[in-house]
Structure formats: C-alpha cells, structure tokens
C-alpha cells in the first residue's frame, strides 16, 4: 500500500475512534431542527397539512346533523373520529411526500448525499417532524372537537391506549408510504396536487365523510386495502359507543385486524421505501 493510502487509513481510523453515535446524534439534531423550521415557516405546509383538517372539522362538523343510520350515534361524532385519522395521515403522508419531493427537486437531497451526513440522520429528522406535527395535529383536532362539538374524550384507559397505538401505527405506515410515494412525484411544483388526489379519494371511501356501512360494497373493498379505513375504524372504537360496532362490516370493532393491517402496511411501506428512495440518480437534482 502506498504512503497516502496509509495516511488515509490512519485518518479514517481517527474518525472511527470519534464515537460514531455522537456524529449521528449531531447530524440528527441538525436535521430535526431544519425539518421543524421548514414545516412551521412554510405557509403552504401549515395551511395544507396542519390546518386543512381543522378547517374541514369546523366546517363539516357544523353542517352534518342527524344520526348514523342503524345507530343512535350522532353523525358528527363519527365524522370527528374519522377526521382525526385524516389529520394524522395529512401530516405524515401528505406533508412528508411533499417535503421529500421538494428536497429532491431543489438539490437538498443531492447535497446531503454529497456530505458525510449519516444517512440515518435524514430519516430520524423525518420521524421527528411527523412525531411533532402529528401530536400537534391530534391535540388541535381533539381540542376543537371537545370545545366546539362536545366530543366526549375516551372513557377508559383501554380506549386511550387504542387511540395511541392506532395513531402511532397509522403514522408510521403513512410516513413510510409517503417516502415511497414521493418517488412518483415528478417535481416540487406538482407535489401538493399529486398528493391530494389519493388523500381526497381515501377520505371519501374510508368512512370519514360518509358512514362506511353506507358505501357500495366495491368501494368498501377498495378502501379496506388502504390504511386510512383501518385507522378510522380504530378511532371509532375509541370515541363511539360500543353498540356502534353493529354497523361496522364485521359487526365488531375488529381491533386485532386493525393492528394487523396497519402493521402489514408498515412493513410494506418500509420495503417500498427501500426500493424507491434514491440519494442519487437522474431525478435527484
């Protein structure tokens, strides 16, 4: 081995001695802070991902009336349970897919890939972004729902626990799917529009605006393939009385199946992200 190579080996040795964990930590903190700054400073992300579900809740919550057919449950309550799922999907799926598409199109990802940033730091930053904005979104929707529409908070510890795991699993699945979905977005400008399409369609067919039991069978089948239907079903079990389960497809809440499908989507999302996410290539400008 020639002298410069030996020198390099020595140098790389020095870097390895420096605790690798602190390098990842420093990079992850920096990434997370940039993620949060760019979320809260960006009017588009604030309005479209954080506030849109709140606006929908206020407007539609004020319009909807009556009870869900076959139950004694206020239609509004069913809608509110669903919109919380949408809110979490909005900040995880929509927000993230848009931000990855923008970063790929504006040269951010290419520059990060050219720096010694540990690749994990990028994804840790995304997780922090979703965790913070998802929690904020949930609290915001819950606060409006409780104050303006008299939504009863979950009545038992078990229901609180269900709330947490349904939102957590849902957010993880949506986050991973967002990373994968961003690869079909050609450029930053069209990102919002392209992301809105699946989001809007899923909202209509997953039992948010219309009771799931009232939808045509084929629509139910399609919706059951995607995570949002299972998120809203889990959330209905948290906020609605137990006798509402009668109008669910199986006549019960099917929480084990909710967990199973959402976990399966997490795994599928992880696999798809691995297959589609690119640090380099013709689309990474």
């Amino acid at each position: 081995m020639s002298a410069p190579n030996a020198a390099l080996t020595q140098e790389s040795g020095a870097v390895v001695l420096d605790p690798a964990r602190s390098i990842v930590w420093r990079a992850a903190v920096s990434r997370s802070s940039v993620e949060l700054k760019s979320f809260f400073r960006n009017r588009q992300s604030l309005v479209f991902t954080l506030l849109l579900p709140v606006v929908l809740l206020v407007v539609l919550g004020s319009i909807f009336s009556g009870t869900v057919p076959g139950t004694h449950t206020d239609f509004k309550q069913m809608f509110i349970a669903g919109i919380i799922g949408c809110g979490v999907m909005s900040v995880s799926f929509n927000g993230l897919a848009i931000s990855v598409a923008i970063e790929r199109d504006t040269g951010m990802i290419r520059r990060l890939a050219s720096s010694p940033m540990p690749k994990s730091a990028y994804f840790i930053g995304k997780v922090v972004r979703v965790a913070v904005t998802g929690t904020l979104e949930t609290l915001l929707l819950l606060a409006v729902a409780v104050v303006a529409f008299g939504l009863p908070l979950p009545s038992t510890t078990a229901r609180w626990e269900t709330l947490v795991w349904v939102l957590l699993l849902g957010a993880v699945a949506c986050t991973l799917l967002a990373v994968a979905f961003s690869s079909v977005i050609p450029n930053a400008r069209s990102a919002s529009a392209i992301v809105t399409l699946p989001f809007l369609v899923l909202q209509f067919i997953s039992g948010v605006f219309f009771p799931y039991s009232q939808l045509p069978a084929w629509m139910q089948t399609v919706a059951a393939l995607f995570p949002l239907k299972w998120m809203t079903q889990g959330l209905r079990s948290v906020f609605l009385p137990n006798d509402f389960a009668r109008v669910e497809p199986a006549g019960v809440w099917e929480l084990d199946r909710v967990a199973l499908v959402l976990a399966a989507w997490c795994l599928a999302g992880l696999a798809l992200s691995f297959l589609t996410f690119r640090w380099r290539g013709p689309n990474v400008r």
Binding site: S12, S30, K37, S38, R111, S114, M117
Partner: protein, 314 residues
C-alpha cells in the same frame, strides 16, 4: 499502466466509461489531478464533464474503469472520505424556509472539523445576507451559498462544477479569490467551466473533453501545442515598401496573399527588429494593420473541439 506516484494523486482515473442504455456519455477518460493544483475540465455541453465529476464525487456509478479519489473508490461512499471532499454541483440548489446562516450551519454540523460558519459566509461574500431567507437571494447569491455549502467542511479536495455560471463579473472575481484561497492552503481543486479566462487565471493544468474522451491534457500554457505554435507578425503591403523583405529569424515562414504579409516565427521580437528599420528605410513610417498574434487559449480550444468533432464523435 499507471505508476504508484500517479495512483497517489488526489484524483486518478483510467479508462473511465459511463453508458446510459445505448449512449456512451463517457467513452474513455484518463485523468491525473496532482496534489495542491487547480485542475480545469473543459469541453462543450454534453461532452461528459459533469458526468465525470458526478462519478468522481460518488453521486453517479461508473460503467467501468479505475477511479481513485483521495485513494478510495468513490462508489464506496465512505463518510470519512465524504468529509474530505467538497462538492458544488452544477445546478444551483434552493434552500427553502432557511436563512443563509442556518443553511451553512446545517451542513457544518455534518463535518468533523468545519470552517467557522461566519467566516465561510463572509468568504463567499454573503456577509450582509446572512440573516436573509435563502429563497430570496438573487441567482448569483444563491450560487455563492452553494459554494459555501460545498466548502464549509474544509475539504482537502474541492469539485466545482461551473461555479461561476450566472455570476456577474464582480462576483466571478470573488469566486476566483475563493478558489485561490483554498489553493493557497494546499487544497486541490477540480473545476469545470466554460470560461477560458477563468482557466487561464486559476488553473495550472487542464483537460479538454470532447464526445466523452479526453482529447488533450496538460499545463494550461502548453495546451493544444500552444507553446509550439509560432506567433504571427502581419501587416498590409503599402506603396513604397521594398518588394523583398529584410533578413528575418531563421525559422520564419512568410506568406503573402491579397496584400497581407504574414511572418510566422517563434522569435517575433527579432522579426520586428528587422522589419521596422526596413520599413523606415523605404520611407514608410507606419506599417498598416501591423499586429503580433499569438494563439489564445480560446482559439486552441475551439480548434481542438472542431478537429475532434469532425470524426463524427458527438
């Protein structure tokens, strides 16, 4: 075959090839960039310069060939290797929702021994814009922010892909100063550019790439046989001049067409010393259209491109 000394160079490339489907973007590239020098990559658009640089910085995979950058294969993508190279890509980046200072601080956080952030911002001439949102910068300022992001890690080897495109003349000179700043600190720079004055001002050696091949490489002053090409002393014939020319330097070749006399020689000063008294003796005080011409880098460069594209290589 390359020697051990050549392999120790910061950039060492042999028989590099990159194929996109049926197209060979890079056909046959050999490069040696020596430690501490500013090396320029020249060539028309689409010649393969950017593809070559992208392979050297590890954001693109090569089809074949031997590539060593700071002693390692860029495809390894080792973080400790990344910490030693600086990259300014060709397309200007946009950093949304962050201030200039935040952008540079952000990238500094990834390096073990970055330069002080304020110093880097001043160095690229963005001191006054440090608190401005990066997306409100002008095109030239955004380009300088890119340079700051590329060099904040205090790299040993810097790749600048057309760093001054879109800069106004003052900003270009500032960018040159920045290149010299790193060169003075013993760093190595690889620069692609379209501006030949930039090459003459900054680079010690250069390679010209046409159609994915290196058609010429060497010291800038000798590129394309520049030093070997004679100077041309020319003037227009006028009434009263003696028909026969005076004794000229031994290597002089004289051409005369349409009243224009061209003397090609490596000793233009001697030729002038003979021509001026000769004209004065004929009573001609002013030789019309008198000029001494040496081939500029631009002419050499255009000649190289023309002669290499005629073979059908596009």
């Amino acid at each position: 075959m390359s020697t051990v000394a050549e392999q120790a160079n910061p950039v060492h490339v042999r028989s590099l090839r990159k194929r996109y489907g049926p197209v060979n973007a890079v056909e046959e590239v050999d490069l040696d960039v020596r430690s501490g020098e500013v090396f320029a990559l020249l060539g028309p658009n689409g010649a393969g310069k950017t593809t070559t640089v992208e392979i050297l910085v590890g954001v693109r995979r090569r089809t074949s060939g031997d590539v060593r950058v700071l002693g390692r294969d860029p495809a390894e993508d080792a973080p400790e290797w990344r910490a030693r190279i600086g990259v300014v890509p060709q397309t200007t980046g946009a950093y949304t929702d962050l201030t200039v200072r935040e952008v540079v601080e952000h990238f500094a956080a990834f390096y073990p021994a970055p330069l002080p952030v304020a110093e880097v911002i001043d160095m690229v001439g963005l001191g006054k814009q440090a608190r401005k949102q990066a997306q409100t910068l002008s095109g030239g300022q955004a380009r300088r922010l890119d340079v700051a992001v590329g060099v904040v890690g205090d790299p040993d080897l810097i790749f600048l892909d057309e760093p001054t495109t879109g800069l106004d003349p003052v900003a270009r000179r500032e960018a040159w100063d920045l290149v010299r700043y790193f060169a003075d600190r013993g760093k190595t720079t690889v620069l692609t550019t379209h501006y030949l004055d930039e090459v003459e001002a900054l680079a010690q050696r250069a390679a010209v790439i046409v159609g994915g091949r290196v058609v010429e490489s060497g010291p800038v002053a000798e590129l394309g046989g520049r030093r070997a090409t004679p100077a041309a002393v020319s003037f227009a014939r006028t009434d009263g001049l003696d028909r026969s020319l005076p004794a000229l330097p031994g290597d002089a070749v004289v051409e005369e067409a349409e009243g224009l006399v061209v003397v090609r020689t490596h000793h233009p000063t001697e030729a002038m010393a003979a021509l001026l008294p000769w004209a004065a003796a004929s009573g001609v005080r002013e030789l019309p259209d008198l000029r001494i011409h040496r081939p500029s880098l631009e002419e050499i460069y255009l000649d190289l491109i023309r002669s290499n594209q005629e073979g059908g290589v596009v």
